[in-house]
């Protein structure tokens, strides 16, 4: 058989336009907003409920999230779990610095029952002393395990360095604070903060939107009480300074974290910033990944991401690099940031990043769970799903100049806050050759 000649890459077919699914929305008399989106692909329904929870006491907030499903006047924790299982359902609660968040999935036929159980928990969680005791110990153990993980330790140091005295600075409670929380404090916090005003419920799945709104209203209309909003002050601007080196003796890798300024989803420069971030390190085919992984083999999974919170947005670049190349990895990181901040990207680089941003927007809403996450996150920024085509068109329109400007403004290494967690004895010399360093011990 003769060898075939070179084959060429097939062109892409015509782009299929983003089609938004059917949706409906209602704000109930108690202030709860309900958004329902129909995607009938599998006979399930995804549920997300978030409740504003900014400025809540950290240890009480975390223990409340861990115990809110532990029982009501009429149901024990085991009964709640079993009743949910009957409809193929499950609910979990979690906390971030802005919100208390419930998420769950169940068979679509069980939606009414899932809402009924949720309502019972929201209006009647009883925080039984025995269960609170068990969950308190588990939370303490979980914090101890987290503190043995380099990613957690690096994150903790970075947050403190970024946010200083802002409430975002500390997001994991001290075990001692957790141990001091009593059930009474949880009941008070619940009474004060687990309120419908300003909360958003998202339902996505094999449901009829109007019918699901009615079901939500029927189940949750009786949930009453004004919310205490707990507004946060704006996050402080990043304050560049010496590299913070957190000494973790014996570490076989260094956790490199670089924080840079960013803007919220609604900001006119957000699309251009997103594209600049992609070109830098936001996807595999980025300069940073191609450099420090595919060319130099310093690391496995470097990535950079714009994180949005209510009080502000921040871009965080993260890589776990081999101890012996920590300095060189920082050098390449600074180089790639500086290059993008000072030299406009090539047109084909921008087009590739743009296609990725547009395509992954479609992929992100192609499942029930993906849709639920997007709708819930958008609602957190005061947006609705119709922002998706709006964002799509902003991405499509961002010019090379827009992206270069955004890169100059937001990705400049002079604006970076850098934290490295690693073995100080081994990595200090090469890091110190690049930048001033302040060294602290790993928190115990």
């Amino acid at each position: 058989m003769s060898a075939p000649g070179p084959r060429s890459l097939p062109p892409l077919g015509p782009t299929r336009r983003l089609k938004l699914p059917r949706q409906a929305e209602r704000t109930l008399d108690n202030g709860l907003t309900v958004i329902v989106v129909r995607r009938p692909a599998v006979p399930l329904v995804e549920l997300r409920l978030w409740i504003p929870f900014g400025r809540a006491h950290l240890a009480r907030g975390h223990l409340l999230a861990q115990t809110i499903l532990s029982g009501t006047e009429t149901m024990s924790s085991v009964q709640i779990a079993a009743e949910l299982q009957k409809i193929g359902g499950g609910l979990a609660a979690g906390l971030d610095p802005d919100r208390l968040m419930f998420s769950g999935t169940g068979l679509a036929t069980g939606l009414d029952r899932m809402l009924e159980i949720l309502a019972e928990v929201l209006t009647g969680a009883s925080y039984p002393a025995e269960w609170v005791g068990v969950e308190r110990d588990r939370l303490v153990d979980g914090i101890q395990v987290a503190r043995s993980q380099p990613a957690h330790l690096a994150r903790t140091a970075l947050l403190k360095r970024i946010y200083g005295r802002h409430p975002y600075a500390v997001q994991t409670p001290d075990p001692e604070q957790v141990r001091a929380v009593r059930p009474g404090a949880l009941r008070s916090l619940h009474a004060q903060r687990v309120r419908p005003a300003g909360a958003v419920l998202v339902l996505v799945g094999d449901v009829r939107p109007e019918r699901a709104l009615d079901a939500a209203e029927k189940a949750l209309g009786g949930w009453q009480g004004d919310g205490h909003r707990g507004d946060l002050p704006p996050a402080p601007p990043l304050a560049p300074g010496p590299l913070l080196l957190v000494d973790r003796p014996g570490s076989v890798q260094s956790s490199l974290r670089v924080a840079l300024p960013a803007v919220p989803r609604t900001h006119p420069e957000h699309a251009a910033l997103q594209l600049a971030n992609l070109i830098f390190g936001g996807y595999f085919s980025s300069r940073w990944v191609e450099n420090i992984r595919e060319d130099k083999g310093y690391t496995y999974g470097p990535h950079s991401l714009v994180e949005h919170s209510v009080a502000g947005s921040v871009l965080v670049a993260a890589a776990e690099v081999a101890t012996e190349v920590t300095g060189p990895a920082l050098l390449e990181t600074t180089y790639e940031l500086g290059r993008l901040a000072t030299v406009p990207p090539r047109p084909e680089e921008l087009e590739q990043a743009r296609q990725y941003a547009l395509g992954t927007l479609q992929l992100g809403v192609s499942t029930q769970a993906g849709l639920a996450s997007v709708v819930s996150a958008y609602a957190g920024s005061g947006l609705r799903l119709d922002f998706l085509p709006e964002h799509e068109s902003r991405l499509a329109k961002a010019s090379a100049e827009d992206v270069a400007e955004a890169a100059a403004r937001y990705l400049a290494p002079a604006r970076a806050v850098t934290v490295v967690l690693g073995d100080a004895e081994r990595i200090t010399p090469s890091l110190a050759a690049l930048t001033p360093i302040e060294t602290v011990p790993v928190p115990s």
Partner: protein, 436 residues
């Protein structure tokens, strides 16, 4: 309260199967509910097939499949997938290695081209090999060496349970073995295992069957025909005497323990195997499950307990020999012996007294939700179907799983529980070296 038994919904994905002249098996699963497609190629080679002295080679080779191919330079694969708006990855399992993309549906032909090109031949060069050995070492440091509980229990329990190299060895590989790997090893591995006859192509999502079939013929039709190698016999006898080991994890702050019991052949005896999948959930799915209720909440003997099938949590894509695993993390000073005794007690109680009213039905309903949710994503669907085709010739089984899980009886679950005896158990305990 009377038991209301929820009806487990059926899903039926239309599935087309055919085989090209070169032996490549193809599965098509059209679904036009979103303008996206998933493409997966699965090769019938995994960790169990790597040669002695080459631990971690199957996974290292997976990395090399992304380093350029017949018509593509290094980095081109990533750029072409992502530049079409898609995402990609690959993963190495005990019995197979998969490569996959999910993209907007206008990129279908591009994805087929990319997969066909590397099926014809990756660019195996010294430079790419050395680069990816470095990358894999960093992957192992992130996931195993630099963190607490790294490799627990998927890397630390098989050597306790199994005696033969294929089943017992470290699938991530030793640094020595990885550094000793050569381009010649890679060339041989490709020729032997990455044969058209040893692969399945699975494509799903927003596609027209006739059009997709023509595109597949065009791009894969002239991939040279090579037959599948004979699959070695990996079977090992069951344990008859309990095995138990422990090791100190210098980074771990708290104790942990994992146990495994052999289960029936998941492919050869699916009907006997399925009750164990249900049993794992009866034991550990949520606050209403037996072991969570007893160990976490009543005895406070553990902070968490989980149960699942397969060392990589892969109930429906692993071959014999495999196991049911239970793993627990303990509070400070926790008593591992007591945990193991309590598990035995609960298994006895289940085998002897059976399940409570509604316990099985609610567990099955929850399992149905998990199974359906995994298949909502087109990529989840094509990957599962590819492996079901490869190992069973039955991709349509995916849609039947919720129903089949729902048909498992109480008697079967009790009988399964009765086989999990201490003398058939292999356990590994993590001694915390990082307690402060």
């Amino acid at each position: 309260m009377p038991t209301r038994r929820v009806k487990i919904p059926a899903t039926r994905y239309p599935v087309e199967r055919f085989t090209l002249d070169n032996g490549l098996r193809v599965v098509l699963a059209p679904d036009r509910s979103a303008p996206v497609i998933g493409v997966a190629v699965v090769y019938d080679v995994g960790i169990r097939s790597e040669p002695e002295g080459r631990t971690g080679f199957a996974h290292l080779f997976e990395h090399l499949m992304f380093q350029g191919s017949e018509n593509l330079e290094k980095l081109a694969h990533f750029r072409h997938v992502q530049g079409a708006g898609g995402t990609f990855n690959g993963s190495t399992h005990l019995d197979y290695t998969d490569y996959f993309e999910t993209l907007p549906s206008n990129a279908l032909e591009r994805a087929l081209f990319l997969e066909a090109d590397r099926m014809r031949g990756p660019r195996l060069t010294e430079e790419n090999l050395r680069n990816q050995v470095d990358v894999v070492k960093e992957e192992i440091r992130v996931n195993v060496l630099n963190r607490p509980y790294g490799g627990f229990p998927w890397l630390t329990l098989p050597p306790v349970m199994f005696d033969t190299f294929p089943n017992a060895h470290d699938g991530y590989g030793s640094f020595d073995d990885l550094e000793s790997a050569t381009v010649a090893d890679a060339t041989d591995f490709f020729r032997r295992y990455y044969a058209s006859g040893n692969a399945v192509l699975s494509v799903g999502g927003d596609l027209d069957v006739a059009e997709a079939t023509a595109l597949i013929e065009r791009h894969f039709g002239d991939v040279p025909a090579r037959p599948a190698p004979a699959r070695p016999d990996f079977t090992e006898p069951d344990l008859t005497v309990e095995r138990r080991t422990s090791y100190t994890d210098a980074l771990a702050p708290l104790p942990a323990v994992a146990s495994a019991w052999r289960v029936p052949d998941p492919v050869g005896d699916f009907a006997a195997y399925l009750p164990y999948v249900v049993l794992a959930e009866v034991l550990t799915d949520g606050d209403a499950s037996r072991l969570v209720e007893r160990l976490v909440h009543t005895d406070r003997a553990v902070t968490s307990v989980g149960g699942y099938l397969g060392f990589m949590g892969d109930p429906f894509d692993v071959r014999d020999p495999t196991a049911l695993l239970l793993q627990s993390h303990l509070p400070p000073g926790g008593d591992v012996d007591k945990v193991l005794r309590t598990v035995d007690e609960e298994l006895d109680r289940l085998a002897t007294d059976g399940l409570t009213d509604g316990e099985l039905a609610r567990t099955q309903a929850r399992m149905a939700t998990h199974l359906l949710r995994d298949t909502d994503a087109v990529l989840g669907r094509v990957l599962r179907m590819a492996v079901l085709e490869q190992q069973r010739g039955a991709p349509e089984l995916l849609g039947e799983l919720p129903r089949l899980v729902g048909e498992v009886t109480e008697e079967q679950v009790r009988a399964a529980a009765a086989t999990l005896r201490p003398e058939r158990r292999a356990s590994v305990e993590v001694i915390p070296g990082g307690a402060r």
